[in-house]
Each structure stands twice: as C-alpha cells, then as structure tokens.
Symmetry: none
Subunit: 212 residues, 2 copies
DNA sequence: GTCCGCGTCATTCGAAAGATTGAATCTGCG
DNA sequence: CGCAGATTCAATCTTTCGAATGACGCGGAC
C-alpha cells in the first residue's frame, strides 16, 4: 500500500487527487496539507511514502511563507525522507530544477492525464526517478541552453528581482545578506550583458528564462 | 436538480469538482469539457443550468484555441443561455472583467473553500449574480481605480522602463528632461500602488497593461 | 593536490533612483 | 471662466543600486 500525502493549497485540487487515488487499489491518501509548513510537519509525524508537493502556495505571497521548493528541501533533509513528486501548473516554472536538486523524485504537470499521474506515483514509490527520459533533457535545455547558464541561485534571485523586490527584500526572502544578493546580481549582469536590474529582467524575459 | 457542466482542461481539477458536487444532493455534473470549444458544443446539445468555466485553457497557447472568455461570450449569446461561473486561479487575472462583461454570473477562485463554491453555484442557478457584494467592488477597484488611467505618456514611459532603460535614456528617447521622466514615474507609482520601477513593471504586467 | 566555479559575505564609493516640493503650460469639461 | 488632469521642468535630499574589490569555504575537474 502506497501511503500518500497531498500538499496543495487548493481544496479542489486536493479533492481531485483524492478521488483519483481512491480508484487505485494500492494507493491510500493518508494526509493532506494546505501549506508547505503543514506538509513538512505532517510528513514528520507519520509515515508517508510519497508526497505530492505543489510548487506555488498562496500564489500572491509577498512575505515569508514557505514554498514547495523549501518544503521539499526540508523533507528530503530529514531522516527516512519520503519520495517527493512536484506538482506544478506550468512546465516553464523556473523552480522545477531547484526542486529536483532539492531532492524531488520527479515533477508532474497538473494538466497531466490521470494515468500519467498514478504511474509517476508508482514509479516514485518504487524509488525510481521520473526524470530519466526526456524530462531531464527538457529541463537542462530550458535552463542551460536557453540562457547563458545562470546558476540556480542566480535564477532564484533574478526571479525575485523580476517580481519587483529590493535587494534587501530578496535577502530576507532567501535568507541571505544584502551583500550576497548584490554579488549574485553582479554575476547575473555580466552573464546577461546588462547593467541594471530592470534590463536584466527584460533580457531574461526575452530569453525565456522568466515566466512569460 | 442543478445540472452542471465542468469546463476545465485539468483532469485533476475536474475530478475534484465532480467529487465536491457529488456530495451535494441537489447538484449533478452532467458533462465535462476539456476545451473551451467542447464546452460550447456540449452546452448547446444538452440542457445545462450552470457552467463552471475555467479562464485559462491550454495555458501556453498564444494564438489559436478559444479561451474561457470566448466560450463564455458564445454561451451567453445563444438562446436559453446557461448561467456561467468563471473559475480562475488568480484574482489578479485581467480577463475576469472581460468575462463578466461577456455575461458571466460570477467568478470563483480555485483556492476558494468548497462551501463557497457550492454556494456560488446555487446562487448562480437561482439567477443571482455573485457579483453583487464586495466582489464587484473589488473588480471595479482593480480595473477602474487601481489600474485605470495611466495616461498615454505614462504608458510610454512605463514601456521603456520595462525595456530596461534608465531615466536618462528614457528622457533622451522621448525628448524629455530626466526630471520629467521622474515626475511621470511618481504618478505611475502612485497609480499602481508600488514604490519601485521593477515592481511597477511587475504590477503592470500582472494587470495586463504591458504585453510586448 | 591544485585550480576553478559556486555561494557566501564585507567595504567603499559614485551614480542612479526615489521622495518631496513647487510651478509652468495646455487641454477638456461643466 | 474656473477647475481638473496631463505634461513639462527644477531643486533639493535620502535611499538604493551598481561597480570594484577582496575574502573564505566547498565541491568537482584535471
């Protein structure tokens, strides 16, 4: 029996997933979480085989709440970590790669057909990585060929810059010093060949490195 | 018995909605549609009381396929039109107002609690507009007070800001003094409720005021 | 083992951006 | 006509940004 934890802030999505897995005889949804924090807590307090983790929690969150990437990192850092499958709306999401490197076993699009979903869960439960085939290629293609190799951290910083945050805010969000943010920005600027944050955002958008 | 049509391209979301309404004794999901076209067809071929219509179909399609707004317009233009409830992920979506003007009876956020959802469906089936209370206010606030005017000149300036240009460059481009550019920016900031050029660009993009 | 890229931080300094205040035209509207 | 808004400009002043460094630990590559 595969024990599942659903981590998504949308009640409707959770209901859909629950209904979907209820039809599978070898799967059981043992818990749900509406926030990333709750997902981490719950997973620590009970045995879970696979976590279905949304990437965007409370989409319009300027401040501090954990996101799916953070929760994934926290989960995979624990002892006896569950397998984490990332659920996301957009396959252009820049955080996918971060999540995978944080320890996720794979990623799924929310508009994937149900059969694909259950197959991915089964694969994850078996310890397989759902990233073997073309998926990994697409990821690396998107993030390494599309733009001139912005590092993970740099991409994260750039995403927050594009959201309109100041260096200080970004530092707070990513738990960095403002100096570090500036340092990342210097590298971003040189790599993109620009000289200001706004033009960096423009260039990145034009290169497809940021969600259109 | 309220006859429902679910129009959403996400199988998971449809499953969730189906499960949700299955628990309501006076509601029945009589059909589902994975595309906007299918929604229009289906609704014409069978009697439907309420349509739950997603706004984004096949998220990453710039051109061709119909979107929820178009389908809503088509549905409401027919004879004996069903009541249309808009389903959307983001309450910042610029298309919400368009959909309402196309004839939708209300709009719902996908992260709304289930009770709110069924209540809205019941209200829509009864012919009420779910836009009466604070929702309409928020809509008009967002689209008529929050974003509205941005004069021509201000839009021009904002476009160049979004392109990554400095105040001096913008002044040169538009044959203005740098002081004038700053002045325009102050007005843009107040109108958009932000405090920096990058967040102004982010906000404008989110409001649909910029689409290069 | 050494070199290099990444990520982290610090300091300093000049430039740009933003806040504030004020004011001049010109337009459209009641 | 007066009023409101758009557009234009100016002079401050503070904050933020960006540029130029230098430094340290860490992991992979050679």
């Amino acid at each position: 029996m595969i024990r599942l934890l659903l981590a998504d802030d949308h009640p409707v999505v959770r209901a859909g997933l629950r209904a979907l897995f209820a039809a599978e005889p070898d799967m059981e949804v043992v818990a749900e979480a509406a926030t990333a924090e709750a997902a981490v807590d719950t997973s620590r307090n009970m045995r879970v085989d696979v976590v279905l983790m949304d990437l965007q929690f409370g989409k319009a969150d300027p401040d501090g709440s954990l996101q799916g990437v953070d929760a994934t990192r926290a989960l995979c850092a624990g002892d006896q970590p569950p397998h984490v499958l990332i659920l996301t709306n957009y396959d252009t999401d820049a955080d996918i790669l971060s999540a995978v490197e944080a320890g996720a076993s794979g990623y799924l699009l929310k508009d994937a057909p149900p059969t694909e979903l259950v197959a991915a869960v089964r694969a994850a439960a078996a310890g397989e990585s759902a990233l073997a085939p073309a998926v990994a290629d697409r990821l690396t293609t998107r993030t390494h060929a599309n733009n001139p190799s912005l590092s993970l951290r740099e991409s994260e910083v750039l995403a927050l810059v594009a959201a309109g945050m100041s260096n200080r805010d970004i530092g707070g969000q990513l738990f960095l010093s403002e100096a570090t943010v500036k340092s990342h920005l210097v590298h971003i600027f040189t790599k993109l060949g620009v000289g200001s944050r706004t033009s960096a955002v423009a260039k990145a958008r034009e290169l497809g490195a940021i969600r259109p």
